[in-house]
């Protein structure tokens, strides 16, 4: 069933949803901001919007003040640089990850498998910028390898200039027939491509391994063995092609990940591509460049998915292109195309036309919902449910949440004491289950490692005031500026040899940054920032996702379509880019804004997964049985559907506790989120970044290590939890 939902989703893409609906839903508020700055709101918003739309389709994407040129012009030549890098990285990633994944699945639970899994986990847990800085540190200090820019300016511009036609330097150098140029371009590309490839490689390895294990347990593998084929033939001829099918569907996502990563990689390696350009634009709040970049990456993502979609249909004979196109979808698509055409002809007419469409569509929606409500009045709880969700989300974000948690804990303790006899009886099987789980944990050393990492990092956050006591004069312990009365720059770490008597100059256990911030102090208190953001984002995201995903998946049909199209809009834009755009466009650089941005980025992914689970579960016989015995929809969703999704919810939430900290650190590294001296790991890494060339490794090393350990801990734990909760693993 999961496969079917994935297919329908991709097919709806394959049908060719144009960019227009996405633009409509997303750009309006941003557009508002943009014109508010530029023109001071002298026109009504919908007119501005239509004007903008016209600009987009005629490639008139505004003027960027940062690079002092036309945005579409800048996109055109920077795009080649990014694409060249991404494609190389993508090829490297796919070409190494797929064989590794297959190999790992053949050697399941042996040391080769553990090694590859750990390698893959490191790939997703290590912050991409930290890895890049590592390489930069080693290659600048110990080799004469050129690591910045795309080419050696002396060779390309002075001694032997060749014609640059496509701006794909590798191809240009081949076209000019010049070997040294080719080598030079390749030499400059290798490091950034490695960094980029490693992250997506990790995802593909894990996917491929999982799919292979799945496929190797299928009946047709046994058939192949019974024919007398050798182990290798069975694996590569019968196993791998089948395992490739689900892997390919996620390669489009992988490409989006590359675009995400290219933002960071390009910044560090000063690669003159789109990502670095976008960051410059965001730092100086150049709105037209930001919007153009966001739009462009969404466009790229949709194209990548289209290609994947076609490839998928070729790989799997069971799929045929062109199915699944409801009248409503065709209507929406054709209306938006018509809208675009009218926009080109006359703006006023387009404004009226768009207005008309919006009114009639929303009228239709309200009509159908109210009709449904009148027909089945007991469904009204859905509306209350959404209201309740919004309340909970608000309470989490406003800090009211902790009160709820504490009070519910007290209530729960009361319940336990009051109904102790019943609880005791129910404890038996639970205890059995617990024993089983602990046995599973003992069997898997990686899970124990993850558990230890998570517990130790959480206790660091908990005992921060004792581990790194703030100064007496400090008003806010999260701010590093006031930690020491006198801050000494660039102090090397003294580890445990520092004594209180040796004075403050010597008191930096892990060294200090260029503004004299104590790295040890920053890491200890930064764990609180990470925990705070991760918990809030994960809780809020899971809550929204669980409710919307379960309802949408359970009801299916029109509601599901609408919810899925909305999530499409968010997923089409690479997460980091969207978060950056939200922060940059609103101009609010506080940690709260960053949290909102992360929630907006993360909930659609959650919703997708839970919705897919709900779709699968609602077709199972026990749901039919519950329906037949007269249970209400509310009861079915909360008694049967959600508890059965809980496994995947827990696993994903655990993993994303790590993933969100990685995003948070990436944003912090780029200089977004919180004040300039807020204790936050990504920020600390960026302080250390500038000192690499002088050999001060501690500035970027220790905070990056903290991020990596955090993410690694949660990923390992998530993996372990999945193994434990999956009943299929018990044999």
């Amino acid at each position: 069933m999961l496969g079917v939902t994935v297919i329908t989703f991709y097919l709806s893409y394959g049908m060719g949803d144009p960019l227009a609906p996405y633009v409509t839903e997303r750009t309006t508020p941003e557009q508002y901001e943009m014109l508010a700055e530029k023109h001071g709101l002298n026109e009504p918003i919908h007119v501005q919007y239509v004007t903008y739309l016209r600009g987009v389709i005629t490639f008139d994407w505004g003027y960027s003040e940062v690079v002092n040129e036309d945005v579409s012009e800048a996109l055109r030549y920077r795009f080649a640089a990014t694409l060249e890098l991404s494609i190389l990285a993508f090829i490297v990633a796919v070409a190494t990850a797929i064989p590794l994944g297959i190999f790992s699945s053949i050697r399941q639970n042996r040391w080769e498998d553990h090694g590859i899994r750990l390698f893959a986990l490191f790939g997703s847990a290590i912050p991409i910028f930290w890895f890049a800085l590592f390489l930069q540190y080693f290659f600048t200090l110990y080799t004469d390898w050129q690591i910045s820019l795309r080419y050696d300016p002396i060779l390309w511009e002075i001694t032997d200039p060749i014609e640059i036609k496509t701006n794909f330097l590798l191809i240009d150098s081949i076209a000019a027939g010049s070997w040294p140029h080719f080598i030079d371009a390749l030499k400059h590309m290798i490091l950034p491509a490695t960094v980029l490839a490693y992250g997506s490689m990790a995802t593909i390895i894990r996917l491929m391994r999982g799919n292979m294990l799945d496929v190797l347990g299928q009946d047709y593998i046994r058939t192949a063995k019974s024919k007398g084929l050798s182990e290798n033939q069975v694996t590569y001829k019968h196993g791998a092609p089948n395992a490739m099918i689900p892997t390919v569907t996620l390669l489009g996502m992988g490409f989006a990940g590359l675009i995400n990563g290219s933002v960071l990689t390009e910044t560090i390696f000063t690669w003159p591509g789109l990502g670095a350009w976008a960051i410059t634009a965001m730092r100086s709040l150049d709105v037209s460049a930001i919007l153009a970049y966001t739009l462009f990456s969404a466009f790229l993502y949709i194209i990548a998915n289209l290609i994947v979609d076609i490839l998928y249909a070729f790989l799997d004979p069971r799929v045929e292109l062109g199915g699944h196109s409801s009248i409503a979808e065709i209507l929406v698509v054709s209306l938006s195309i018509l809208m675009l055409i009218i926009t080109l002809i006359n703006i006023d007419a387009a404004v009226w036309f768009g207005f008309l469409i919006l009114v009639s569509l929303s009228g239709l929606t309200i009509y159908s919902i109210s009709k449904r409500m009148i027909e089945n009045p007991e469904d009204a709880w859905v509306i209350f449910l959404f209201a309740g969700t919004m309340f909970v989300v608000w309470s989490i974000l406003s800090g009211f949440f902790m009160t709820i948690i504490y009070s519910s804990l007290i209530v729960y303790t009361g319940y336990l004491i009051y109904y102790w006899q019943d609880v005791k009886e129910g404890l038996g099987p639970k205890l059995d289950e617990f024993k089983r789980s602990s046995y599973q944990i003992k069997k898997n050393p990686l899970t124990i490692l993850g558990l230890i990492l998570v517990i130790s990092l959480l206790s660091i956050a908990l005992f921060a005031p004792w581990l790194a006591p703030p100064a007496e004069t400090q008003r806010d312990p999260m701010r590093m500026e006031e930690h020491f009365e006198y801050n000494f720059n660039h102090q090397p770490p003294c580890y445990f040899s520092c004594t209180a008597e040796s004075g403050e100059e010597d008191g930096y256990i892990l060294g200090s940054t260029d503004r004299g911030y104590d790295i040890y102090y920053g890491i200890v208190w930064g764990s609180r920032t990470s925990l705070d953001v991760a918990v809030k984002v994960v809780f809020t995201g899971t809550f929204i996702a669980a409710v919307i995903g379960a309802v949408s998946g359970y009801y299916g049909g029109r509601i599901d379509d609408i919810v899925m199209r909305i999530t499409d809009v968010f997923i089409a834009i690479p997460g980091l880019v969207l978060a950056l755009a939200i922060i940059a466009v609103t101009g609010d650089n506080s940690i709260e804004m960053l949290m909102y941005a992360l929630i907006i980025v993360w909930w659609p992914g959650f919703t997708r997964i839970i919705r897919a689970e709900a779709l699968r579960i609602r077709k199972l016989p026990y749901i039919e049985a519950a329906k037949a015995s007269g249970a209400s929809d509310f009861r079915i969703i909360f008694q049967h559907v959600l508890p059965n999704c809980i496994t995947s919810i827990i696993v994903i939430a655990t993993m994303d506790m790590g993933g969100i900290v990685l995003s948070l650190a990436a944003l912090g590294f780029l200089g977004f989120g919180g004040g300039p001296d807020l204790a936050e790991w990504g920020k600390l890494v960026s302080f250390g970044q500038d000192d690499i060339l002088t050999g001060e490794w501690w500035g970027f090393f220790f905070p990056g290590l903290a991020i990596a350990l955090w993410a690694l801990g949660f990923y390992l734990l998530g993996d372990g939890v999945r193994d434990i909760l999956d009943p299929k693993q018990r044999n």
Partner: protein
């Protein structure tokens, strides 16, 4: 043909070692249809998987001997086992749709086993008729590869034309040209020897229009056709013995009868030995000559079919036989009466069965 002596197989699970087989003894002679019956979990399938070493990773043969035509294959090398699988013993499985590879055509799947075990035959046929062994359309069969190459070539050509370096695009142009020409050139080439053999294998299991079926994917066929394809595949390697692991369970009744008849016919034609694993005593009565009853990893009774049905010796066999629901023909033709009579009869017999089973377990 196949002799199994005191076979013991264990599964290592979380809850400890599960002894699936506790000393199974079986002898299957040339050209006989041997039925193996028993309830779910009694170790029927495990017996045949152990014999061919097709057990999952957790399973392990811990004792006993397996003799194939007098040769001890208990500790045979992997190479020898591969010769036996498909070449000397063919096997068909319960659910044909999941047992056939979904992304390979019938042609490829049967061709594979032919290339493994009938290499000499194919070459002989090819040299006799003067046709190629197999057509060079291997990569044409997977359109994904073809599509990728085409897209690659076109993008390179357009790139080089954009760059004004037309000479660079010539090799790519050549590849595309060959891809189009190939269809034209291969138009009159007769079917390859492998194709003929595949079609022959398919017509042996009485499939209508074997040419078209060879070209299709498993999901495009009906359940009965899929099972016929499975049988064709098991027979393609000219195996002297066929193991059928509940071949009719996933099929409906009319198709069941057809498939059983097919297995019987083929057995007669080729004088094969057939080991038919089933839990359906009706199937056994209809098809087999000899039958063994399995319970809890042991053979409790082995006899000819007539003897089992008329004079079962073991208590468990008697209980098993009495559990078959019987239609009561002598009752008046009143539906209510009939229904109640039937249910009481079958219920009581199942009660008996469970009682006997409990007694045996207690022993």
């Amino acid at each position: 043909m196949l002799e199994i002596k005191d076979l013991k197989t264990n599964f290592n699970t979380y809850d400890g070692v599960v002894k699936a087989l506790n000393g199974v003894n079986l002898t299957i002679k040339d050209g006989e249809i041997f039925g193996l019956v028993g309830e779910t979990g009694s170790g029927k399938s495990v017996t045949c998987y152990s014999a061919l070493k097709l057990l999952p990773k957790t399973g392990e043969v811990v004792g006993g001997n397996i003799l194939l035509n007098g040769e001890d294959i208990t500790h045979a090398s992997e190479d020898r086992l591969r010769q036996i699988r498909g070449g000397e013993i063919g096997i068909i499985f319960q659910d044909p749709l999941s047992a056939l590879n979904p992304v390979m055509t019938v042609n490829e799947q049967i061709g594979e086993i032919l290339l493994l075990h009938q290499d000499a035959e194919i070459n002989k046929l090819a040299s006799e008729k003067g046709i190629p062994v197999y057509k060079s359309e291997k990569w044409k069969a997977s359109p994904g590869v073809e599509f990728t190459i085409m897209a690659f070539c076109i993008s390179f050509i357009s790139l080089f034309i954009m760059l004004g370096q037309f000479t660079f695009s010539l090799p790519f142009l050549f590849v595309i040209g060959m891809m189009f020409l190939r269809d034209y050139l291969q138009r009159d080439i007769p079917a390859s020897a492998l194709d003929l053999m595949v079609i022959d294998a398919l017509s042996r299991v009485k499939l209508p229009n074997p040419k078209q079926i060879a070209r299709s994917y498993p999901h495009e066929l009906s359940g009965g056709m899929q099972q016929r394809v499975m049988i064709a595949m098991a027979l393609a390697g000219k195996a002297k013995m066929l193991i059928a692991d509940e071949p009719t369970t996933a099929l409906d009744v009319t198709i069941q009868a057809q498939i059983l008849q097919l297995i019987k016919d083929i057995q007669k034609e080729e004088n094969m030995a057939v080991l038919l694993i089933t839990h359906d005593l009706g199937v056994v009565a209809e098809t087999c000559e000899k039958v063994a009853v399995m319970y809890k990893g042991k053979i409790v009774e082995e006899a000819s079919v007539d003897q089992i049905f008329t004079n079962p010796r073991h208590e468990y066999t008697r209980a098993l036989l009495s559990a078959i629901p019987k239609s009561e023909k002598h009752l008046p033709n009143l539906s209510t009466n009939k229904k109640s009579a039937r249910t009481t009869k079958s219920e009581s017999s199942i009660d008996d069965f469970l009682k006997v089973k409990k007694e045996i377990i207690d022993e």
